[in-house]
């Protein structure tokens, strides 16, 4: 797992270096113009936040059943990355909304549910940090509830009438827009995997260190 970190980071770095060129060469959207280019940095982290929350919930569920430490490390790394990617989406979203809708924030279903999901995973990190002994089990329970909100985030735009673009926009994008989008998505995904391997390796070494400390004590 550790060996994968450098190639992943290299590939992600290459994509992030070249993505601005590709995004700059992409055509302008007819009504929104230049602002629409925020899309390439808004939708991939937002989507990865949702996937990461689901992943964290599934891994946490598996941890509750099997109690294997590696699952707990993975879940905590996924929760941190959910918060990180959620923060990116929550910063880029208002920047775009200010130009497209005229307001920074709108209390519609999609925005509210995304904010709530981000808050649940911030609460997860607070619980792990301040919960004391056994908080990893409790955090796993919370992650399951975080995952339970994810279908509502995805469906909220299609169920409620909102100002946020529908999820059906993405598959119907013309290729000139779709290529930079999926290029940026790949970059964010590779960065996600790189950070994930780094974080799990760190936890593994921390556990090994604790073990050695206990052994030297005896």
């Amino acid at each position: 797992m550790r060996k994968a970190f450098v190639p992943l980071l290299g590939a992600a770095g290459f994509i992030f270096l070249t993505a601005p060129i590709i995004i700059a060469r992409a055509p302008f959207e007819s009504t929104m113009g230049l602002v629409q280019k925020i899309f390439y940095f808004h939708m991939p982290p937002a989507m990865l936040m949702l996937l990461s929350a689901i992943f964290c919930g599934l891994v946490s569920g598996a941890y509750l059943v099997t109690r294997r430490p590696v699952l707990d490390w993975t879940a905590s790394a996924a929760a941190e990355l959910t918060v990180l990617y959620g923060s990116i989406a929550l910063v880029t979203g208002p920047l775009w909304a200010r130009k497209a809708w005229g307001v920074w924030w709108q209390w519609d279903a999609r925005l509210t549910m995304s904010l709530l999901m981000w808050m649940i995973f911030v609460a997860y990190l607070l619980l792990r940090r301040y919960g004391g002994n056994g908080s990893e089990t409790l955090a796993a329970g919370l992650a399951l509830f975080g995952m339970a909100t994810s279908p509502f985030v995805y469906l909220s735009v299609n169920l409620w009438r909102t100002v946020h673009p529908l999820t059906s926009v993405v598959p119907t994008l013309p290729v000139d827009f779709a290529f930079p989008l999926w290029y940026a998505f790949t970059g964010f995904l590779l960065m996600y995997l790189a950070l994930m391997t780094l974080r799990v390796t760190l936890e593994r070494q921390r556990a090994a260190l604790d073990q050695l400390f206990l052994e030297s004590d005896e």
Binding site: L127, G131, G134, T137, L138, G141, L144, F145
Partner: protein, 226 residues
Amino acid sequence: MTAFWRVVWIVVRKDLAIEARSRELLNTTVFFALSCVIIFAVSFVREKPLGDAAAGILWVAIAFAGTLALGRTFERERYGDTLRALLLAPSDRPAIYVGKLIGILSLLAATEIVLVPLVALLFQAGLFSHPLLMGALLIFGTIGFASVGTLFAAMLARARSRDVLLPILLYPVTIPVMIAGVKGTSALLDATPQLQMAGMWILLLVCFDVVFLTLSLWTFDPLMTE
């Protein structure tokens, strides 16, 4: 199944018996809810109440009072060192959860019986014009809030800094329930009540209840294991 419900009944009866002797939770929770409503009344009522503020105030008061009651119920178990005894009992863990949940629900129902007329009075809100729909909103909303709340309060009973962690964990998860409750109530309070809209929110509340109850019943056992 009968053994399951027997344990539920024993847990409920135990909690109600303790409560009937001291009335600690009921008195403090009802008075706290009253204080909340008074604070809102002072902040939001000028010459006449603001629009449909009553809907939001009712649900915020329920959420705040509920959090207080949840914390206290398990604090009492911890203080008497009876939580471990309860978990060691040779019975289904989910039965203990259901028993605790019913105890909290009856406490919140008692609070709401005082709270709803008070909000209707202070904010001149027609909360009683559609008693059935309003009742359904309150019942399903309270179940949604209390089902997650009972699980979180139980699992936090042994955690460090549990007083502050309970609202931090509980509110983000239950805000969807609050939104549905508030939107449904304000649909009923509208000048032309939108009954169909209120029905849709009740349906959504039922969905949340099913999801939250299923998850809580499934996770209570692994979460309470030391």
